[in-house]
Symmetry: C2
Amino acid sequence: MTIDASHDPALQSWVESANAADTDFPIQNLPFGRFRPAGHDEWRIGVAIGDQVLDLRATGLTDHTDMNRLMALAPDERRALRRSLSAGLQWGSAQEKAWRAALFVASSVELGLPCRIGDYTDFYVGIHHATTVGTLFRPDNPLLPNYKWVPIGYHGRASTILASGQPFTRPRGQLKAADAAPRLALTQRLDFELELGLFIGRGNRLGEAIPITSAEEHLFGIALFNDWSARDMQAWEYQPLGPFLSKNFASTVSPWIVTMEALAPFRRPFVRPEGDPQPLPYLDSEANRHAGAIDIELEVRLQSRAMRESGIPAHCISRSNFADAAYWTAAQLVAHHTVNGCALTSGDLFGSGTLSGPRPDQAGSLLELTQAGKQTITLPGGEVRSFLEDGDSIALVGNCSRAGFRRIGFGRCEATVEPSPAMG
Amino acid sequence: MTIDASHDPALQSWVESANAADTDFPIQNLPFGRFRPAGHDEWRIGVAIGDQVLDLRATGLTDHTDMNRLMALAPDERRALRRSLSAGLQWGSAQEKAWRAALFVASSVELGLPCRIGDYTDFYVGIHHATTVGTLFRPDNPLLPNYKWVPIGYHGRASTILASGQPFTRPRGQLKAADAAPRLALTQRLDFELELGLFIGRGNRLGEAIPITSAEEHLFGIALFNDWSARDMQAWEYQPLGPFLSKNFASTVSPWIVTMEALAPFRRPFVRPEGDPQPLPYLDSEANRHAGAIDIELEVRLQSRAMRESGIPAHCISRSNFADAAYWTAAQLVAHHTVNGCALTSGDLFGSGTLSGPRPDQAGSLLELTQAGKQTITLPGGEVRSFLEDGDSIALVGNCSRAGFRRIGFGRCEATVEPSPAMG
C-alpha cells in the first residue's frame, strides 16, 4: 500500500475538531459510513471528520447516495476520491465555504449499518482464540490439523447484523446439561467476540478466482465487529455443521469503515512462526509477506447497568492487536474465499474471527477470559461476571498509531443486552 | 391446510395445455416465479399454467413486479390471490379474453431465480442421509446425539444460488490425501444433493420467535434445490465450523415456487419412529403431528455429454420422497430458526438438506449412491460414474399425486458442470 500526501501528519483541517489530538477522525482517516439526519428516511453516504459528518453527495464528489455503489469503485477512483476529500477538508481549502453547508454534527444524526450487507462470512483467523476454545470444546484435540493450511471460515446470517447502538434481547434456545435431556431456556452463557469486519469493495464474477496479488484491490476497508455468541447453545448445536442459532440472533458492526488507503501507514510484515507450514502458493505473495499484517490496537469495555446508573465509566476487560492475533491476512481471506470461483459482491462482510492476543488477559471473549465460566472478572463497583448479564453493554474500540503518523481510530461498536420478553 | 374448490380435480382451464394429463402445471397448481421476455431487462412475476406463463401484473391482480413483496402478503391475501387466479383461468371465465394477452409461451421467455434471496440456510432433515454420510465421515459416531433433538442447520451463501439452466465450472480448492500435504487442485469428487428449497413469505421482527402453530403462515412455498458439493474439499475443510468452499461455488434452484396452498391435498401425518424422543414443546403441535409431512415424489436424472450428443435421454439414478426422508417438518424448521429471535425476511431460502430415502437406491447424492466412490453407477451407453464428470447435467424433478386429485409438478432444476478454465 502506498503512503501518500493524504497521510502527512502535519495536515490540519478547517474542521477544528479534526485537529484535536484525541479524535478518532483526523483528516488522515476519512472513513465512510451511512447516516440520516432526524426526520429523514433515506440513508446518505457520510465521511467522519472530527466530531462532524460530511454529506458526500452535498460536496459534489458523488452524484448518488448508494454506499454499495461507492464501495464498488475501481481502486484508482477510490484513491482519487480520498485525495479530493483530503484536499477539500484541508486548512485553507477553497471548498471550505461550500462544504461547511454539507456538515452535520455527528451526535445529531443517526448512524446506520455502513452499507447493505449481502453475504456475511465469519472467519477464524485468531489462532490463540482457536487454540484456547479448541481446548475447551475438544480437550484432546484443540487445534485441528487443517488450521495452519486452510483459512477456516463459515457463512453467517446477514439479516441480524445490527448497527452500533441497537439493543438486542437475550436469546433462548436448546441447552443441554451433561446428564439431563435438552430443554428450551434463555442462554446462561451470553458472550461477545472481539472481531474486525472486512468489507468487500469490488466484487468478482462467478467462477473467477481473485489472485492474492490483487486481493486487496477488492477490499474497501475495515470496521469493528462483535459476533455475540450463546456458548451453551453453541456447545449443543454445533456438530457437525457449525454454529447456527448460537450466533445468528445478533451481531453488531461499527458505523465507520476505515479504508485500506487510510490504513496504509500501519502495515506490518506478516511472518509465520518458525516450524509452521508455508502457505500454499495461492495464499502467498511477496507483498503479503512484506506488509500483509495491519497493526490495529483493540480494546473491549464492559459497563453494567449498575455502573451506568452510578456513573462508573465502562471498564476495559481486554486489549489485543489484529497483527498479533491473526494467523491469516485480509488478502489471504479474499484469495481463499474465491479460489473455488465463489462470487463476492460489493458490501459483503468478512468477520475476522475472535482476535485474542497470546496472553490470557488479551482474550477476545468471556469464554476465554473466564475459562468457560470457571473464573470471574470483577468490575469497578464490585460486581462479578463470568458471562454477560441483562443490562450489560459491550463497546469495542480500536485505533492505529505509529511514530511519525497521526493516530486514527475506528469509533465505537457498542450494544446493550436487553432482558428477553416473557416466553410465549 | 384447507383443501378448497381450487383443488377440484374436475377444474379445466381455457389454457388447453394445462388440461393435459402429464403437465406439471394444471390449474390446480399455479406456482409463482420470475420471468422476462427476450429483450427485456426487468423481471416480472409469472404464474405457470400448462406450457404458458401468465404475466401477473398484466392480469390486474397486482400493480407491481416485486416477487418478494408478493411473497410477503398475509396468508388471507395469498389465498384470495390464488382463488382469483383459479377463477380467471377456468374454462368459461370472463377474464379469458383479457388474460390471453398476458400469456407468454414458457419456452420463449427466460426464467430467473424465483425471487431475490436474502439469507440462505441449509438444514439437514434427511435422517437417512445424515446417518449414511455420518458413517463415511465419522465411522464410530454416525448420527450425533443432538440430531433427534435439534433440527440441525447452518448458513449458506446466497450470492451463488443460480437459476435452473445456468452452468457453473468445476471448482478448485484444497484437497488432502491421507499421507500427503494438502494441495490446490480441481475437485475430483463433485456431487449433487437432492433437496427441496422452502421459501419464506412473511418475515418476523428481530427478537420475536414464530411459534410452531403459526409457522406455516410464514412459508410461501417450495421449489427443487440442488446443493452442489465438492466432497474432497468438504472432508478437509469442514471441522470445526462446517462446510464452506465445498458448497458455496454454486447451488441451483428451480424456477417455480409451488405454494403451500397448492400442496394442501398432499399433506401427511408426521410420525416419529417408536422409541425416538418426542420433540420439545416449541417443535410440537397437533397440526404438525396431524399433517406436518408433505408427500412429494422426487427424482434425480443424470445425462452425460456423450449421452446428450448421442440423443440418449437423461437417466434416473435415484427416487425419493420428502415425507419418507425428512426427520423434521417445514413448520419445525421455521419455529426452530426463530426461537432465538432471529429475523426472517420475505424471500429467504431454507434448503431441506439431502432427501435420501431409507433404501440405498433412494440416496440423494453420489456420495451415498457410490459409497464415497467405492462403487460406480453405469449409465445407458456404458459410461460409469463415481462422481460427476465435466459435461454431466443433473436434473431434479418432483411431483405430488394422490387419488382423487390432479397431479401437480415442480418443473425442473437442472444445471451442467462445465470444465474449469485453465488455472491462473
